[in-house]
Amino acid sequence: MGEKISVQDIAEVLAKAEGLQKNEAQSFVRVFFDTVFKGLGQDKYVKIKGLGAFKIVEVDNRESINVNTGERFTIGGHAKISFTTDNNLKELVNKPFAHFETVMLNEHVTDDDLEMVNHRFEDTNHEKDVLNQGFSSQSVSIQNEQDTTLCPFDDQEHNNNIPEVTEKYEVLANSKEHLESNNQSSPEQLQFDSPIASNMVSDVEQTKVPSKRSFRNWVWAMLCFIAMLLGYVVGQLEFSSFNIRDYFTIVHDTVLERELVHDTIWINKDSFTEESKELKHATAANNGANQDKYADMPEDGVPQVKGGAYQIVGLRETYTLRSGETIRIIAERFYGSREMALYIATYNHIVDANKVAAGTVLKIPELKLKTK
C-alpha cells in the first residue's frame, strides 16, 4: 500500500514472468513509455488495451483574477495531457468500493441533514466511550475511598466512609435509572452498564468485610485505575469534538438513527426543527454579513474592485497628478505595488489607468484587507 513502483521494479517482475534478462525487460519498459510519448506527439492519442487512453487536450485562453490585487489577467491556452482509465482497470481498482451504489435522495433531505447524519454517526461511537469514562472514573473514586477505609489506623474514617460509599452507589444507581429512562432503545448500553453496576455492589460489599480481602481489593483498584487511564485517553481524544449539549439529544435520537441507517436518509423533521431554525438564523445572519462585506456596490456608493483582496473603506487623501506620473506610479508610492492602481482607478471612476491628464485631482482610497 502506498509504495512507489519504478521502471526497475516493473522490469524485474516482467523478467521473471517472461523469462527475460533484467536489462532486456528494463529496456522494453523504457521503450514502452517512450512509444506512448511518441504516439502522443504523432496522433495526440494513444490507447493501450487494459490500461487506458492518453490524450492531449487543448485548453483555451481564459480570464482570471489576481487574488491579491483583483487585477484581471489571462491564462494562456496550453496543452493538457489527460488519461482515461480502461473500464476493466477502473473496475479492478474500485473493487473495494464496488458494493456501493448511487442512491436517490428524497425531496426533503437537505445538505444540513446529510452532514448531521454523518456527524451523529461519529458521535454514537463517542457516546459509549464517554459513558465508559464516566462510569470508570466514578468507580475509581469509590475505590479510592475504599482504599482509605482499608487503612487500619483510623476506624473513625472507616465508619464515616461506608455511608459515603453507599451514597455514591445510590447516585450511581440513580444516574443509571436516568439513563434507562432516557435511552430505552439501546440495549447494549444497558448491558454494558449492568456489569459495572454489579461490580459496584460487590465492591461495596467488600468494604464491609475488612482487610482479609485487601489483596483482592488492591487488584480491583489496579483494574479500575487502568480503566480510568483508558477512559481518560479516549476521552481526551474524543471529547474535543463532543459537545455536552448534544449529549442528551443524541441519546434520544439513537432510535431515529437506527431508522436512518435502514432508510438511508430520512430524518424526522420534528425533532430537528428547533435546531434547524437556529441554523437557519445563524446562516441568515452570516449571509447578511457577507453581503455587506463583499458587495461590489454597497449602499454608501463606494465602488469596490470585484474579486479584489482589499476593500475600499474611505478617502485617505487627495493627490494632484503631475506631468510624467501615472496612476501606476502613484499606486506604487502609496501601496507599494503598481498593480494596486486598479483600486485608485476604480475609486475615481477612471476607465483607462494609463491615460490620465496631468493636474487631475485623484482621491486615494483607504484600503482594508478583506478577512474571510
Binding site: 500500500m1 502506498g2 509504495e3 512507489k4 513502483i5 519504478s6 521502471v7 521494479d9 516493473i10 517482475v13 516482467l14 514472468a17 517472461e18 522494453f28 519498459v29 521503450v31 514502452f32 513509455f33 512509444t35 506512448v36 510519448f37 511518441k38 504516439g39 502522443l40 506527439g41 496522433d43 492519442y45 494513444v46 490507447k47 493501450i48 488495451k49 487494459g50 490500461l51 487506458g52 492518453f54 496550453h78 496543452a79 495531457i81 489527460s82 488519461f83 482509465t85 482497470l89 477502473k90 479492478l92 481498482v93 474500485n94 473493487k95 473495494p96 468500493f97 456501493f100 451504489e101 448511487t102 442512491v103 436517490m104 435522495l105 433531505v109 445538505d111 446529510l114 438511508t264 436518509i265
Partner: protein
C-alpha cells in the same frame, strides 16, 4: 494511435516479432494494473506517474430529471504527467 498501431510501432523499434511484443505488452499492463490494485504508485521517470486516489462521496443533480443523488465514494486511477512531459507538449 490505437492498441494495434502501438504494438506495431513497438515491434519496429525493438525489432521483435509482433506476437511476442503483444505478449510483453499484455504482461506489462497486467503488472502495472496489479500494482495499482494494491494501492501502489507507478512512477516512470520523464513520463509521469499513475496513482490511485480516493474520491469522496458527493451529492449530484441529474441534469435531465433534476433528481438529487448521492454518489458513493470510489477509487480511481489518475495520471500525473511529469514536468518534462508537460513542457514538451506546451
Amino acid at each position: 494511435m490505437n492498441n494495434k498501431e502501438f504494438i506495431n510501432e513497438l515491434s519496429t523499434t525493438l525489432e521483435l516479432p509482433i506476437q511476442s511484443v503483444a505478449k510483453l505488452v499484455e504482461t506489462t499492463v497486467k503488472i502495472i494494473s496489479e500494482e495499482l490494485c494494491d494501492g501502489n504508485t507507478v512512477s516512470v521517470q520523464g513520463f509521469g506517474s499513475l496513482e490511485v486516489k480516493k474520491k469522496m462521496e458527493r451529492v449530484m443533480v441529474s441534469p435531465i430529471t433534476k433528481q438529487r443523488m448521492l454518489v458513493p465514494p470510489k477509487l480511481i486511477v489518475c495520471f500525473k504527467p511529469s514536468a518534462t512531459l508537460k513542457d514538451k507538449f506546451k
